[in-house]
């Protein structure tokens, strides 16, 4: 999952330098554009896996930049960073053509997880497959059947969607907010560890009594489903 080409379009040079450095430490190739026009030109020509776009940019604002790219049939996934974090702002951002929306301030682990999820999405593998497989765990998205080592496991509808999302991003870190947004469609931050409890229930269903656990907790970041051996 490493080695993605990322373009950070952000006018705050300190924040941009921090992001570029942090992404490089994670093994990605990150570049920086300091204003909207520069960002637009490079995004339209360069071959990037994900664009990280600040919403407020000099010369060309973030949302216009994204709309222009989409109008030019540039379909590179875009993550919008914004100081505006309310529900309506998010809706506006996604309507302009953004693929994900992260309000400032954010934890880098959250940004990284989301960028990696978007980069994977560009490959398009996850969306079309009807059966997700991780080691001996098999999830059939059409018949809603789940088996581990050939044995069928019954899940509640929500547990199924939770696992489906995790398996779609197998091998990637998925954060709690990503789960709350994508599985429950909520964007607020519950004070109670509701997601953790759902994960532990799911874990008890798929990993209990198995030699190799598949559902892992990534400290300080979130969760990841992957073949234990890999």
């Amino acid at each position: 999952m490493s080695d993605m080409r990322l373009l950070v379009i952000e006018d705050d040079s300190e924040a941009a330098a921090y992001l570029v450095k942090a992404f490089r430490e994670q093994g990605h190739l990150a570049e920086h554009a300091g204003d909207g026009l520069d960002g637009y030109a490079r995004a339209a020509e360069g071959d990037y896996d994900v664009l990280i776009v600040d919403r407020m940019l000099p010369k060309l604002d973030g949302l216009s930049l994204i709309s222009s790219l989409r109008a030019q049939k540039v379909e590179t996934p875009v993550l919008i960073l914004s100081a505006l974090g309310q529900v309506d702002d998010r809706v506006k951002g996604l309507r302009a053509g953004g693929d994900d929306y992260l309000p400032k301030p954010y934890a880098f682990s959250e940004l990284l997880a989301r960028v990696e999820a978007l980069g994977r999405r560009k490959g398009g593998a996850g969306a079309q497959e009807t059966v997700y497989r991780v080691a001996d765990l098999e999830l059939d998205r059409l018949s809603h059947k789940l088996t581990r080592a050939g044995k069928e496991i019954t899940l509640q509808p929500r547990e199924f969607r939770l696992l489906e999302y995790l398996m779609k991003h197998a091998g990637q870190v998925v954060t709690r907010t990503m789960l709350l947004e994508n599985v429950w469609d909520y964007h607020f931050d519950p004070q109670t560890n509701v997601i953790d409890v759902h994960i532990s229930r799911l874990r008890s269903k798929i990993d209990k009594g198995q030699e190799t656990p598949l559902l892992h907790t990534i400290r300080g970041a979130g969760y990841m489903i992957r073949d234990g051996a890999a």
Binding site: T192, V197, S200, G220
Partner: protein
């Protein structure tokens, strides 16, 4: 001069002028109409009298010939009054009568006509009369009429009366208009003076309300309500900034201390890492406080997010499902009773967040104080008349009646809960969201425990299901 100009510019003056004009026009129309009618009635009466007279004289002619008519006319002429008679030959030679110097056309006219004539003993033919000429069978012309000078005089009186009354009407209209307008506008002036004082910064002042309950009072009351709201918002803002200063200082100090500790820690990397994680934890806590404050501010400004008709029951079920596992993990018996299909206008995210906040609180503070009581949490959603009522009930120590309003304020945390993590914003946020949705958040005694109730107006689109048979309340226990 400038005082006069000022007077001209006042609404009172303009209103008075308009009133006077309207009065004058209306009065003129009335008087002209009355005059015309009076004249019409009088002329009709005169015409009828003349006709009766002619009939009488014609009868006498039939009985006693021209001799009797002449006698009769002579008799009538001697009586004082405005009657006019003239009997002539067909050619126009006068035989008897009290009218002379008639225009020649008069004698050959038909029907009722107005003519000039001369009375015997008067110099000029300047009298006017309404007359009718009747041809008697023996080739005589009989003119019978009535002097109309009286009618003319009456018209003159009326015209004069109109003129005089017009002047009076204009004066009364102007004075009355000025008086009425002044009375109203004095109050408006008083209001604008008070408003000026309020604008200068004294928000505790209110506009004067007369107490008669008229439009101006209603305007003043509404403006007062608006000022009260502004005052409350400003007070809220001031309180928030005071509280932010106070409540953010504590975590910011901790954050700084932790960063400082990390900087001076030279030894083990593990300890350094732990300290830095604390720093990030504090920073995350600060972010949450900011988010909550922002959401509250947005909800309170009323310019919140888009509202749509929502299935509240569905949202409640969703949130209940989200929290069910967490409750079970803590050994809390979680039950929900959600009446299906309840609609309300609102924002899905915010309503879900309100329920989540209340459930968070229930899980955090709802631990029974008395031994032997099992922790319990209930989410009840039902229709209450024309409102949707959502309540979260726990068996914890509850909130003392005296503190129930206070805990809804920002950053207020009761002594008993200060040791638990929390920002003191959860209930404020829930209350602000409830208000945004046209409802309120109330805290009640669940005997024992706390019952937090949010109610909001129910929506009826699409039409409510007919007959909620059996009340298909879905219930679950966790």
């Amino acid at each position: 001069m400038s005082a006069l100009l000022k007077l001209f510019r006042t609404t009172a003056f303009k209103l008075a002028v308009v009133y006077s004009i309207v009065f004058a026009v209306a009065a003129s129309l009335v008087v002209m109409n009355v005059g015309r009618n009076v004249r019409g009635v009088l002329e009709d009466q005169i015409g009828e009298t003349i006709d009766a007279d002619i009939r009488g004289l014609a009868d006498q002619y039939a009985q006693g010939g021209v001799q009797q008519v002449v006698q009769s006319i002579e008799r009538r002429i001697r009586q004082p009054g405005g009657d006019v008679y003239l009997l002539t030959t067909f050619a126009g030679e006068p035989i008897v009568g009290n009218a002379a110097a008639l225009p020649t056309a008069t004698l050959s006219s038909e029907g009722l006509v107005t003519t000039t004539y001369q009375r015997p003993g008067e110099r000029e033919a300047r009298r006017r009369a309404l007359v009718r000429v009747f041809v008697l069978p023996g080739n005589y012309r009989l003119l019978v009429g009535h002097d109309v000078e009286e009618v003319e005089r009456l018209r003159k009186i009326l015209r004069n009366a109109l003129g005089n009354s017009l002047i009076w009407l204009v004066i009364i209209g102007a004075v009355g208009g000025l008086f009425v307008a002044r009375r109203v506008l004095d109050r408006v002036d008083a209001m604008s003076e008070s408003a000026a004082v309020i604008m200068r910064g004294d928000l505790s002042k209110r506009l004067p309300v007369g107490g008669s309950g008229d439009e101006i009072d209603r305007l003043a009351e509404n403006l007062n309500a608006m000022i009260a709201r502004i005052e409350a918002l400003l007070r809220g803002m001031k309180e928030v900034s005071d509280n932010i200063a106070h409540d953010l200082r504590t975590p910011l100090t901790r954050l700084r201390n932790n960063a400082d500790t990390a900087l001076r820690q030279t030894g083990e990397p593990a300890a350094l890492r732990e300290t830095l994680e604390k720093v990030i934890g504090e920073a995350d806590g600060l972010m949450r406080i900011f988010d909550a404050l922002l959401t509250i501010a947005r909800a309170e400004s009323g310019s919140g997010p888009k509202m749509e008709t929502l299935d509240i029951s569905r949202i409640a079920e969703d949130v209940a499902e989200l929290y069910e596992a967490a409750a079970e993990e803590r050994g809390v018996a979680f039950a929900f009773a959600i009446e299906p299909g309840l609609l309300a206008r609102g924002n899905r995210e915010l309503i879900a967040q309100t329920l989540a906040n209340l459930l968070d609180n229930g899980l955090k503070y709802g631990v029974p104080a008395a031994a032997g009581l099992a922790p319990e949490l209930r989410l009840v959603v039902r229709r209450d008349g024309r409102r949707v009522r959502l309540s979260v009930e726990d068996r914890g120590p509850g909130v003392p009646a005296a503190d129930r309003d206070r805990v809804l304020d920002r950053f207020v945390r009761l002594e008993a809960s200060r040791t638990l993590p929390g920002s003191g914003l959860g209930l404020s946020l829930a209350a602000a969201i409830a208000r945004l949705h046209g409802g309120a958040l109330r805290l009640e005694d669940n005997a024992p425990g706390l019952r937090a109730v949010v109610d909001m107006p129910a929506a009826t689109l699409p039409p409510p299901q007919v007959g909620r048979q059996g009340d298909k309340t879905r219930a679950g226990t966790g």
